[in-house]
């Protein structure tokens, strides 16, 4: 069984004001087939965790480890981490002018699998996955994320999740900016991916809204760069009612 392990992770970034410590010792174990929700107020380090695991060069690992089935992810370049089975659905996917979605998907699939996907089944699979996410067929001829609406960008991220079939996926605030219909469609896609591949999920969110459609096995509350509280799905309900106030020091209350 596959497992993603984060042990005592400390991470900093360089800012204009100097080095800023963001993660202060994060421990997290995600087994395949499990859904973990990471919740917390803005600035608590949720996205930093996501991007550090994926290997964004902006984040500097001070200490700790991240392993996937024992392999040291932190020692790998970004693309090798993806090929090892990691996927990050980004909050703000960038535009790539002149690169058509269909070409991008095929290139990514080829890279992940180490071989070209068989053309006929692949085309069918892409068409089917797009249909499930209520994406128009013309979508595949557009350039990656160029001129996409917020909802289209998120669907495109989940489309990749479904097609690339990672062992573990981190969804960074995939719910933010989505109306309820789009949220349902995207959530269905995530649930479908889990059903089909049994992947492990790390769901990063500020709100509990998406958890109505994707039921977490575990909820971790992030405050000041570490896990402040852990529990089951019922913890999310509590946060829904109480908010994050009780985790915040009075000084940081806005």
């Amino acid at each position: 069984m596959s497992v993603l392990e984060v042990i005592d992770l400390h991470v900093s970034v360089e800012t204009e004001q100097g080095t800023k410590q963001i993660l202060n010792g994060v421990d997290l174990i995600v087994n395949e087939g499990e859904i973990h929700a990471i919740m917390g107020p803005n600035g608590s380090g949720k996205s930093t965790l996501a991007y550090t695991i994926a290997g964004h060069p902006k984040y500097h690992v001070e200490s700790g480890s991240v392993t996937l089935d024992g392999q040291d992810l932190l020692a790998m370049p970004v693309d090798a981490r993806a090929r090892a089975g990691l996927f990050l659905a980004m909050q703000y996917p960038v535009e790539i002018p002149g690169v058509a979605v269909t070409n991008f998907l095929r290139t990514a699939k080829t890279a992940i699998d180490g071989a070209q996907p068989p053309i006929r089944t692949w085309t069918k699979e892409v068409t089917e996955a797009m249909k499930n996410l209520r994406m128009d067929a013309s979508f595949k001829d557009r350039n990656v994320n160029e001129g996409f609406s917020g909802g289209e960008k998120k669907r495109h991220e989940i489309l990749q999740l479904e097609l690339l079939k990672p062992k573990f996926a981190i969804l960074d605030e995939t719910d933010s900016g989505l109306d309820v219909d789009a949220l349902k469609i995207v959530s269905e896609g995530v649930n479908r991916a889990k059903e089909n591949t049994g992947l492990g999920l790390l769901l990063i969110t500020h709100y509990t809204r998406i958890l109505r459609y994707i039921t977490p096995d575990y909820v971790h509350v992030f405050v000041d760069g570490r896990v402040a509280e852990e529990g089951g799905a019922e913890l999310a309900d509590r946060l829904e009612n109480e908010g994050y106030d009780r985790f915040l020091a009075p000084a940081s209350l806005g």
Partner: protein
């Protein structure tokens, strides 16, 4: 002021080039000296032309005294005038059919001697066609290309520079756009030591339109330059200028100058120009100089944009996060960046060939 630049057909009317002149200050003058001051061989016969249809395109050599020469423009700098003073016969391409025709003019055996060339492309009223000037091999060439569009003509001119590494090529393209005529002009510069193609468009009749596009890829030591001039000189004319370039390696240098002049005669002008450069490595330099001169208050729109930047690390991260290796991710981004222009040509076979040529440039970049 672009509106007041000196012009003459005669090379002796021009002063000695110092390198400080507006039209020379970005160019490595020493490397092009033979074309500015030298004697140019007027024999330009090593040219082959192939047309897709025989009855709507004619290709012929005409004498320098032919009345069809000199109607689209006048040299504005010494190397252009030097070529104009030297050439003896000109290649004349006439497009007459209303059904689209395509003609390819190939120059691949010009050799290393200094030469002058003159080409006239004439699209008669309501004709439709594409002319491709395909350049490869050695060259030390200064040339003028006149492009004349009569009323309602739709013409595409593509000039492709895939010269050998030591080639030097200076070209001035002068186009005269008739009433309701539309010119699409594309400069593709990939190979050569110094390549400077200066396209100008005179929108002298009401309703004329030009799209001036360019794509270039400069490697170590290469100088690729284009000075674009759009001259809005009649009501309700439209221009779109878009040039994109990639640069890699020490001493890779590109220059884009975009002069747009909107004369008092050009009310209702709609104009936009942009240039974007992608610097792939240290040691490369992209000069990008937009310049808008507006002499009438009654325009529909005029704007410009210019940006030269490093590779976008976020694009790279996004692609790598999908398992795509760094080299391939870079290739995808650069190919995408440049193909936006290539896609505008509208000739699938040519587009594919140019995409492949860009691929080859990129392959060189990752091999080194």
């Amino acid at each position: 002021m672009r509106s007041a630049r000196f012009a003459s057909f005669d090379v002796t009317d021009f002063e000695t080039v110092t390198g400080h002149e507006a039209e020379w200050k970005h160019t490595p003058v020493a490397r092009v000296q033979p074309l500015i001051d030298g004697t140019l061989d007027p024999d330009i016969r090593p040219v082959t032309a192939t047309a897709s249809s025989d009855d709507s395109v004619t290709v012929e050599w005409i004498d320098r005294n032919d009345s069809r020469i000199g109607s689209a423009g006048k040299p504005e700098e010494r190397a252009s005038a030097n070529a104009w003073s030297a050439f003896e016969s000109a290649l004349m391409v006439t497009i007459t059919g209303e059904q689209p025709s395509e003609i390819s003019v190939t120059r691949s055996a010009l050799g290393t001697g200094a030469r002058a060339a003159h080409t006239v492309i004439h699209a008669t009223h309501h004709s439709v066609g594409t002319v491709v000037l395909q350049n490869s091999g050695d060259a030390l060439l200064s040339e003028n290309v006149e492009i004349i569009l009569d009323e309602g003509a739709h013409l595409t001119v593509v000039t492709v520079q895939q010269w050998n590494a030591s080639a030097v090529h200076l070209a001035s393209h002068f186009s005269e756009i008739g009433r309701d005529a539309r010119l699409k002009h594309v400069v593709v510069s990939l190979g050569g030591s110094v390549v400077r193609v200066n396209p100008s468009a005179h929108l002298s009749r009401e309703g004329g339109e030009v799209e001036l596009y360019g794509v270039y890829f400069a490697d170590t030591g290469q100088h690729l330059e284009q000075q674009v001039f759009v001259n809005h000189d009649a009501p309700n004319t439209k221009s779109r200028v878009s040039y994109k370039g990639a640069l890699q390696g020490v001493g890779a240098h590109t220059v884009w100058v975009g002069d747009v002049l909107i004369r008092p005669t050009a009310s209702g002008t709609d104009s936009y120009e942009q240039n974007r450069n992608l610097l792939l490595t240290d040691g490369a330099r992209a000069d990008s100089i937009p310049n808008l001169e507006i002499e009438t208050g009654e325009i529909a729109g005029a704007g410009h944009a210019s940006a030269s930047g490093r590779f976008d690390d976020e694009q790279l991260f996004y692609l790598q996060a999908r398992g795509i290796g760094e080299d391939e991710a870079r290739r995808l981004v650069v190919r995408g960046f440049l193909s936006e222009i290539v896609q505008k040509i509208g000739s699938p076979a040519l587009e594919e060939r140019l995409q492949n040529a860009i691929e080859a440039e990129l392959a060189l970049s990752t091999a080194s």
